[in-house]
Amino acid sequence: MSGQVMVFEEVAPVHPGGPILQVTGLVKHFSTDRGLFGGGAKLHAVDGVDLEIFPGEVLAVVGESGSGKSTLARCILRLIDPTAGRIVFDGQDVLALKGRRLAGFRQQVQPVFQDPFSSIDPRWRVGTSVAEALDAFAIGTKAERRARVLDLLDRVGLDPSLAGRRPHELSGGQRQRVGIAAALAPSPRLIVADEPVSALDVSVQAQVLNLLADLQRDLRLAILFVAHDLAVVEHISHRVAVMYLGKIVETGPTDAVFRDPRHPYTKALLEAIPRPDPDRRMEGSALHGEIPSPIAPPSGCRFRTRCPVAIGRCVTEEPEMTAFGVGHTAACHVARAEQQQDDHHRP
């Protein structure tokens, strides 16, 4: 094997300070309902995920339904407990946190959801929603909290006079801004955003994407951006992780993954994007069939049942992550064999 392959460690750390969040071997299985006569099964939602996010970085996790991307986000937020694995945030073992330390973690890692109503109470006034985290974590005096709320509304591009309104009086885009303001309130270091713009119209989506990009840059926020829309991901993220049936199949700098995808699933996904360019019409879909059930994922490589280049080995042996460039890795037997051949023929 050439020295270039198979190494995570060989990748030079881009951030000497180390990652703010490190996820190792994360597994989340759900038991499905047991029928009268037994037969409960295990649903492999997330099945051994490793990832890192560095301060000030946008890492996108992309995948289709059933890929496990939202379950991964919920585990990181500690909304659900993983079955196995480790989550380290800022040097602390997140899964072991309790009491005050857990509260401190929740302050520093804030969610933004697709539907802002998952995080803001429809009955509360906007200002109350934004102040909730400040109140909960007892940050500042009452007057300071009030000033902070008005600041935050201004920061997300809302007129502070909206503080007295209720969510139903706002447009979808304004509501998502309120959700973002509420997430920013306790000065988090990591935002976990699950499909934050997928319910928005194109013109509103552009406003919210601009806002997230500005905040990220100005506040040096790390953002875990979970999304299915690859055009959005290509625009906003620094790095991307592609998930399929509970596993990350490819990860790397966004440019590298989009320009030179190595995993056949990533290639198919990119080809399937309906590009707003009539001169680039896709000729036939690259991928046939549908995502298999996560209750009984295929043996070996999980993508093999739909893969156009699968070989015998893909049935029996799960491919390991192979490095294809700085920080760019993919788990595919075929891509790896090609890489080795290239290395071999290189003068």
């Binding site: 946008v58 289709e64 339904s65 447009s171 979808g172 119209d201 194109v202 013109s203 509103v204 989506q205 552009a206 406003q207 994407l209 601009n210 990009a213 500005d214 990220q216 840059r217 299915h228 690859l230 055009a231 959005v232 290509e234 625009h235 906003i236 966004t254 440019d255 989009f258 198919a268 996904l269 080809e271 399937a272 994007i273 309906p274 590009r275 707003p276 360019d277 009539p278 001169d279 019409r281 896709m282 036939g284 879909s285 690259a286 991928l287 046939h288 549908e290 995502i291």
Partner: protein, 336 residues
């Protein structure tokens, strides 16, 4: 256009609400040629779905439709409900975003298709069954014989949408209206369904009106496209024209708001302001309050006029609109 299958002229749709009448569609004229895939694109609330529902006679009683909708030469506005019902599922069919809107959850998929046939055609059940099987095969359902008796819940979302499309094709309609048919699907499944629609048009010459918010889907599938904003139709052109040389300021702004890898994060173009309240919309062009080129004349509705043979625009910036809007030619532009 002489071979028009569907022609809308000065269509208005209003919804009565407690707060007043919502002007959901305002003075829309367009025509769809036989065999083409015509896209209707716009953001939420622009009236694209309402327009399709008005065409199908599917709007609730709170809606008032005026103007003319001619389908194969026959006027549909004011047609008795019974006649409209006979047309639907026969000469015109519809595909919705959520397949379960059209499918009966308790009923085998094959029989649902067969029933659509027997409801409109005097044929033997065995014949309808054979035809349903052929349709299932046509839309790419593997092993149709085995799947015929399956209830919809046994199928994935993509497969269900294929069944809905098979049902929509059952009586070889002259026109299929598809409202966000791939919006609920994953991107790899969406590309399969787009392929299927492309293939059906090729093989069966089905005319399709595709309603979507997704400019990518428009670019991939349609021949021509109409752009709607706040109930008004602002531009009609071939797909290549719309993407290469959009003329209406709203179309331009919409395309510029699409995220691409070329733009620095944070620098996407946004459209300032909000969609006007359609209960008492401002007179004239409804995009005026957000338009970077707004002029005094924009308080008068700009007529949709031909800039070239296949590019129509409703904007006072356009010579064609100004020409069509001269006091002598007070009537607004005709159908495309």
């Amino acid at each position: 256009m002489s071979d028009a299958i569907l022609t809308l002229e000065h269509v208005d749709v209003g919804f009565d609400t407690d707060d007043g009448t919502v002007s959901a569609v305002s003075d829309v004229s367009l025509s769809v040629a036989a065999g083409e895939i015509f896209g209707l694109v716009g953001e939420s609330g622009c009236g694209k779905t309402t327009l399709a529902m008005a065409t199908m006679g599917l709007l609730p009683v709170s809606a008032t439709v005026s103007g003319s909708v001619r389908f194969l030469g026959r006027e549909l506005v004011g047609l008795p409900p019974e006649d409209l019902r006979r047309l639907r599922g026969d000469r015109i069919s519809m595909v919705f975003q959520d397949p379960m809107t059209s499918l009966d959850p308790a009923f085998p998929i094959g029989e649902q298709i067969a029933e659509t046939i027997t409801a409109h055609r005097d044929v033997q059940r065995s014949h309808a069954r054979d035809r349903a099987l052929a349709l299932l095969a046509d839309v790419g359902i593997p092993e149709p014989e085995r799947r015929y008796g399956d209830a919809p819940h046994r199928l994935s979302g993509g497969m269900r949408q294929r069944v809905v499309i098979a049902t929509a094709l059952a009586n070889e309609p002259a026109l299929m209206l598809a409202d966000e048919p791939t919006t609920a699907l994953d991107v790899t499944i969406q590309s399969q369904i787009l392929d299927l629609l492309r293939d059906l048009r090729q093989r069966l010459r089905t005319t399709i009106v595709l309603i979507t918010h997704d400019l990518g889907v428009i670019a991939q599938l349609c021949d021509r496209v109409g752009v709607m904003y706040a109930g008004q139709l602002v531009e009609i052109a071939t797909v290549s024209e719309i993407f290469r040389a959009p003329r209406h300021p709203y179309t331009q702004a919409l395309l510029a708001a699409l995220p691409t890898q070329h733009q620095e994060p944070g620098s996407l173009r946004v459209i300032p302001g909000r969609v006007p309240n359609l209960i008492a919309p401002p007179p004239g062009c409804r995009f005026a309050s957000r338009c970077p080129h707004v002029m005094d004349v924009c308080t008068i509705v700009p007529p949709l006029a031909h800039e070239s043979a296949d590019h129509l625009i409703a904007c006072w910036l356009s010579e064609a609109t100004r020409e069509a809007g001269r006091p002598t030619g007070a009537a607004t532009g005709g159908a495309a």
